[in-house]
Amino acid sequence: MAQRIADTVGATAVVHQNGCGQVGADLEQTKRMLIGMGNNPNAGAAIIVGLGCEAVFPEAVAHKIKGKPVEVLKIQAAGGTTRTIQKGINLAQKMLMALSQEKRKEVDMANLVLGVKCGASGPSSGIAANPALGMASDRLIHMKGTVIIGTESLYGCEHILARKAVSKGIALDIIRCFKRIDEDARRLGHSFKEANPTPGNKRAGITTMAEKAMGALTKAGKAPIVGFLKPGEPPQGNGLWLMETRGADVGQISKQAAGGCQIVAFTTDLGNPIGLPLVPVIKITGNAKTYIKNPEDIDIDTSPVILGHMKISEAGEMIFSKLRDVANGALTKTEVLGFREFAIPRIGSSL
């Protein structure tokens, strides 16, 4: 329904599968993710569409979205699908007309919240793409901006994360998070160690999980970790934040978006086409073959670093420039192709 309304007026729909049959932390996460997407600075206004009887009350979500026009549409109350869609179109039309009249204002890079992510990784990720992104990340943090890195790729370097934490409390949160991941896996009769590094990783030369994790960590640069976030939780202040993110790539970047990332920088060795609703995803590779095969899916190619033609710092500059351009309105390749995936991963069983 949301998609139908969005398509008619040229807005963005954030659709998901959850909202009922959930309890506890699982339910809280769904609420938090939806509220987060509504509060994302890239959303100028929001319409919450719900059935009307589900566990995640549309009003509960709408109530927490601040600083912009918010409306609620309930299908049961509106009297069915057709009427809801029409109501939605009318509301969205008004909102978009108003938003289209807003003037651009120049703001400092300190206002930027960047999500950093790596997926479909390989040796080029740890050699070129991630270290280059790390330099751009460091530069943004130096300018008082904010960077969010997810935990998903970092299992195996907890000791370094704990060391980077600015306080013992944060170090403890970090270590507890990874211990939970271990315990959850064990409960499912699965060893996290068995899943990583993947066969693809090993074929490409990554031998141990620690090695893979360290290569992934370089994308966050050298900044200290100023805080630890729950999935989709917004950071309270600038600097580098660590967010608990698990599962497949889509869920992870969805959490970063819900946490308020206006842009996600996604490094990939083998290529990953996913994008997000509301949030532009910049794709970065260090693998020349990947760039040659799918240039339409990659924004930045850092493979010249591997070929010896470019320094990592120069690749970092390239990424930072792209970051600034996208913040100023330049479209990313993934955006233009219209890939907008969103997922709220489950943390409990359905009831």
Binding site: K168, A171, K179, G215
Partner: protein
């Protein structure tokens, strides 16, 4: 002019280097810093080569950090991968607790 061989060393503390050339063969000699190293096996692009001896039980260092433990003696020029390097994730976990000076079992979560 001879073709320049290229490897990448992330950190001065590293005892492994990443091969940046395609299809380097056993017996080929490459220059790593001030060392001339002869490959003791074929090493594919992106894979690691030992640039210092790593005796069995000692750690391989990459990015300036321990990444794994040698399962057998590793010699300079050896390919370093699953056949001779084991994952040490559990030990690193223990290190994390020790370095942060915290015990997860303590009721206050503070180091004593």
């Amino acid at each position: 002019m001879g073709k320049k061989r290229r490897v990448l060393i992330h950190d001065p503390k590293d005892n492994v280097a990443v091969i940046l050339e395609e299809s380097l063969k056993k017996g080929e000699e490459i220059t790593v810093g001030s060392q001339k190293i002869k490959l003791r096996s074929n090493i594919p692009f992106g894979h690691k080569m030992a640039i210092r001896e790593i005796p069995r039980g000692r750690m391989a260092i990459k990015y300036g950090e321990k990444i794994g433990r040698a399962k057998k003696d590793i010699h300079v020029g050896d390919r370093v991968h699953v056949q001779n390097l084991e994952d040490i994730v559990d030990e690193l976990r223990a290190m994390a607790l020790e370095e942060a000076g915290i015990s997860l079992d303590s009721t206050r979560g503070e180091s004593s």
